[in-house]
Structures are given as structure tokens and as C-alpha cells.
């Protein structure tokens, strides 16, 4: 028994076993909060992040491996990589999401349709409760598709 093996296995167990299991809990929490008309968007994002723990770590490792380990510029290069990725990869994807959100709001979805009528929120919450397993599998499929990178 040595310390390095212990924390390696602890990290691997938490990242690859516990967090993906908790993802389902956060998706369920999102549905429950949605059904009660509370802020719910953070919960599915937390579920996605639980499924992406390894990917996030591999991403940061990629940023931190752009130069030799003893290169003093590595700190700056890592920070630059993270800023570059945030501005040139994440923000364009987020822009698409915002456009979609804007179109939905313009169409009245989330404003005149579901928030204006609680009955519709409850019906859609019931539907989400029944398809939660499918949604989780869909999220896992998206994460698995991302293993090979975005083509």
C-alpha cells in the first residue's frame, strides 16, 4: 500500500464511478426544480459536467502540455490556451445556444407558452420524468461522441 496508489484510485473512482452516477441525480433535480417553477438550468449543466470530469481534466492537461515541464513560459502558455479555448471554442458554441434561446423567446416558448400556463409546465415535467433515463443516455451518448473530438 502506498499513498500515490491510494489517491490515484480515489481520484479515478470519484471521477469515473461516482460523478457519472451523480449525473443522473442532477438531471432528476433539474426536472424537479423545473416542475416547481424554480431555477433549473444549472442542474442539467452540473449533470453534464459530472459526465465530463475526465474530459475537463484531459483538456486542462492538454493546455498544460504545450511546452516542456521546465519551461518558465508554460504557466503563461497554459493560461493563454485556456483563454483561447474559452474565447474561440466555448463562446461561439454559447452564441449558438443564445441564438436558439432568443428564437424560442421570440416564439413565446418559455414566456407566453409554458411560463404563462402552469398546466403546460406540469405536463412537460411529467413527460421529462418519464423520459429521464432516455435523456441521461442521450447525454452520455453526446459525451461518448466527444471522446474523438469535434470533427
Amino acid at each position: 500500500m502506498n499513498f500515490l496508489t491510494g489517491i490515484t484510485n480515489l481520484t479515478s473512482w470519484m471521477g469515473n464511478v461516482i460523478m457519472p452516477t451523480l449525473a443522473a441525480l442532477f438531471f432528476a433535480l433539474g426536472v424537479l426544480r423545473y416542475a416547481h417553477g424554480q431555477a433549473h438550468t444549472y442542474a442539467p449543466w452540473a449533470g453534464f459536467l459530472c459526465l465530463m470530469v475526465s474530459g475537463v481534466l484531459r483538456g486542462i492537461e492538454k493546455f498544460a502540455a504545450q511546452a516542456a515541464w521546465n519551461n518558465p513560459d508554460l504557466v503563461w502558455i497554459t493560461l493563454r490556451g485556456m483563454v483561447n479555448w474559452t474565447c474561440n471554442v466555448f463562446l461561439p458554441v454559447y452564441a449558438v445556444l443564445q441564438l436558439l434561446h432568443g428564437v424560442m423567446l421570440y416564439a413565446g416558448i418559455g414566456h407566453r407558452i409554458y411560463a404563462g400556463g402552469a398546466w403546460m409546465r406540469h405536463f412537460s415535467a411529467a413527460a421529462l420524468c418519464l423520459v429521464l433515463s432516455g435523456l441521461l443516455r442521450l447525454a452520455e451518448w453526446f459525451i461518448a461522441q466527444g471522446l474523438g473530438g469535434i470533427s
Binding site: N2, L4, V53, V56, I60, W69, N70, D73, M82
Partner: protein, 134 residues
């Protein structure tokens, strides 16, 4: 005198390492559960339990860093730094990412832990950067 030394070695190996340390590690696991129930992180107690269980291996590791010269103390410290920066810190980065996701899920600050993960992975370069600034 050799008999006393022999008795001490037997006492440490059979009683302290063999019996006492595993029990203390088990208590640390229990303490981690209590820490969690009180709203504190259980990670510190879990790591303490792992460190206790790994005392023989850690002692052997420390001895392997001692080059037996008059600079042995510095050699052990150098070995500990290299081991920490090259082996422990990348694993700590993984734990920091997990902590960031958990913090995000519970509405607590998460960006600081993502930055910590990046820093853990570049700690050697950070050291070189500080040296190059001097």
C-alpha cells in the same frame, strides 16, 4: 543496547505499524463521515487515512531519496519536491476538477478550483518562472 534497539524495532513494526496505524486509519475514515455530516469536506480525513496506511511505503520512499552523503537531508527534501510536483500534483489536479464540478453543482465558486488544477499541472514551470525572475 542492541537488544533494546531490537525490541524497539519489533514494537514499532508489530504494534505501531501493524496494529495501531490501521486502527487510526479506520478512525479517520469514520471522522471523514462525521466531517461530511457537519458540512466539512471529507477529503482531508480520507487522505490522512491513506497516508497512515502508507507509512511503511512512504518510509521506504524517503529512505530511497537519502543518498547517504552529508547532504542527505537536502537530497531527501529534493526527492520529496520532485515526487510531489511530478506524481502527486497531477492527481491533485484531478481531485480539483472533481471539486470544481461539485462546487458548481451546489452553487459555490468553481473557477478557483479549475485554476488550481491548471496550476497543479504547471507547478514545476511556476517554480522555474520564479527562479528566472530572480
Amino acid at each position: 543496547m542492541s537488544a533494546f534497539a531490537n525490541d524497539t524495532v519489533i514494537f514499532v513494526n508489530t504494534f505501531v505499524i501493524g496494529r495501531l496505524v490501521p486502527v487510526l486509519a479506520a478512525w479517520m475514515v469514520l471522522r471523514s463521515v462525521i466531517d461530511w455530516s457537519e458540512g466539512y469536506t471529507p477529503l482531508a480525513s480520507i487522505l490522512c487515512a491513506m497516508f497512515l496506511l502508507a507509512i511503511p511505503a512512504s518510509a521506504a520512499l524517503l529512505q530511497s531519496w537519502n543518498d547517504g552523503t552529508r547532504f542527505g537531508t537536502a537530497a531527501v527534501l529534493e526527492g520529496a519536491w520532485t515526487y510531489t510536483a511530478s506524481r502527486i500534483m497531477p492527481i491533485a489536479a484531478g481531485l480539483a476538477v472533481i471539486g470544481a464540478v461539485v462546487n458548481f453543482a451546489f452553487g459555490r465558486p468553481a473557477i478557483r478550483l479549475i485554476g488550481s488544477a491548471a496550476t497543479f499541472l504547471t507547478v514545476s514551470a511556476l517554480w522555474r518562472l520564479v527562479v528566472s525572475m530572480m
